[in-house]
Every structure is written in structure tokens, then in C-alpha cells.
């Protein structure tokens, strides 16, 4: 299927690559279908593009590449799903790139958990005092 993107014009994606966010992403309740766009296999950053609205796109990253301990904190209990098993789930987090890209941050308080087999995903709120919406990727700035 063809989708319109914010940054890359109209592109073709496989229909089975569409991921359903039943509740949308916080702040974007109207967009429920997204696709992950990746242009280079080894690029840690990927694009999460809303399928039905080209204007809505996020840069996402596997947070464990930068914060190796993070996955152990994203437990079912900490995201309000005490009865679920999310051990093997795929987690991505949204990246914010400010005016000065050195100050790039990752939102570790709002992880997105994907089930690629079922083509579904949801942004959760992580209740853990260690993590906030803005974690710097580059810790020291000169």
C-alpha cells in the first residue's frame, strides 16, 4: 500500500507492516495506524509514521541501545499491567531533537510496547521515579 509521509513523500509499504495503536499515541488520539520506516538496517533511529496523516511522525529508538538497564525496569507491574507477560516484548521510545541536536533526549517515561506478531502497539506510562520524559543521549556537553 502507498502512504504519504512527512519527510519522504509517498512511499510503498507492505500492508502487513501497519501497526494498530488502538488508543493512539498520547496527544494524538485520532491516529491509530502507524508504520515503522527504516532506511538503513544498522541505523538506531527509525521513523514511526502515522499511515493516515502524513504530518504525524516520530523519531524512535530502541532505548536499550543507550540505557542498557532500562528493559529491566519496564516490567508489567511498572506500566500498570500486573497480570501480563511483557518479557519478550519489543520496546521503543520517542526521541525529541531540540534546536541544538546535542541536547537530543529520549522519553523513557512513555515507552511504546510493540507486539509485531499481532501488529499492535501502545504507549504506556512508566511509573518509576528514575525515568522522565527527557533523558539526554549525550550526557556531557562542552
Amino acid at each position: 500500500m502507498k502512504i504519504k509521509t512527512k519527510n519522504f513523500g509517498e512511499i510503498e509499504i507492505e500492508g502487513n507492516k501497519v501497526i494498530n495503536f488502538q488508543e493512539g499515541i498520547l496527544g494524538f488520539p485520532d491516529e491509530t495506524r502507524y508504520a515503522i520506516l527504516e532506511f538503513k538496517k544498522d541505523d538506531p533511529f527509525k521513523w514511526l509514521q502515522a499511515v493516515d496523516n502524513p504530518k504525524v511522525v516520530f523519531v524512535i529508538i530502541d532505548p536499550c541501545l543507550i540505557f542498557p538497564d532500562y528493559k529491566s525496569v519496564v516490567t508489567a507491574e511498572n506500566i500498570g499491567l500486573p497480570d501480563s507477560n511483557i518479557q519478550d516484548a519489543d520496546i521503543f521510545t520517542i526521541v525529541t531533537i531540540p534546536e541544538n541536536p546535542v541536547d537530543i533526549t529520549v522519553n523513557l517515561q512513555g515507552p511504546i510496547i510493540f507486539d509485531f506478531k499481532k501488529h499492535i502497539a501502545k504507549q504506556f506510562v512508566l511509573y518509576n521515579k528514575l525515568y522522565t520524559t527527557k533523558h539526554r543521549i549525550f550526557p556531557a556537553v562542552k
Binding site: 498520547l26 511522525v57 520517542i94 522519553n107 517515561q109 506510562v125
Partner: protein, 81 residues
């Protein structure tokens, strides 16, 4: 807004499946117990709003040239190690 007065241990029911109970009152803090269906989404408001705000900012800044700059800095940081 509907405003109800409740005592410690009393509850409020919303529809047939949501029940909010006053569990503890300590000075200016109130502990609530919430029974709701599994698919109900319940958040502390200030954290919920913070994530909404961050998402909106992230979406407004999601441009390839911004990302490219960040990647270049990342590469330089790696080389420096």
C-alpha cells in the same frame, strides 16, 4: 463537574464496572483505590500531560536534517572514545 462528598472507606461507582474507594486520608494527600476493567486506562494527570506535551514536541521536531545533525554528533562521540 459533579462533586460528591465521601468519607474514608466510602466509594463512588461509575457505570457498572468502575469503583473508586477512599483508602486513606493524610493531611493534603488522599489515597484512592480504583477497581476498573483491565482495558481501562488510568493515569496520574500530571504525568499523562507531561508525556502528551513531550510527544507533541517530538512530532514537531521530527525532521531528517535535525536527525542527521544528531547522528553526526553521535558518530563523533563514538570516534572520540
Amino acid at each position: 463537574m459533579l462533586i460528591l462528598t465521601r468519607k474514608l472507606g466510602e466509594s463512588v461507582n461509575i457505570n457498572d464496572d468502575i469503583k473508586i474507594t477512599i483508602k486513606e486520608i493524610k493531611g493534603k494527600q488522599v489515597k484512592l483505590g480504583i477497581d476498573a476493567p483491565k482495558n481501562a486506562t488510568i493515569h496520574r494527570e500530571e504525568i499523562y500531560l507531561k508525556i502528551q506535551e513531550e510527544n507533541k514536541l517530538a512530532a514537531s521536531r521530527s525532521l531528517p536534517h535535525n536527525l542527521r545533525k544528531a547522528i553526526n554528533i553521535l558518530k563523533k562521540a563514538k570516534k572520540g572514545k
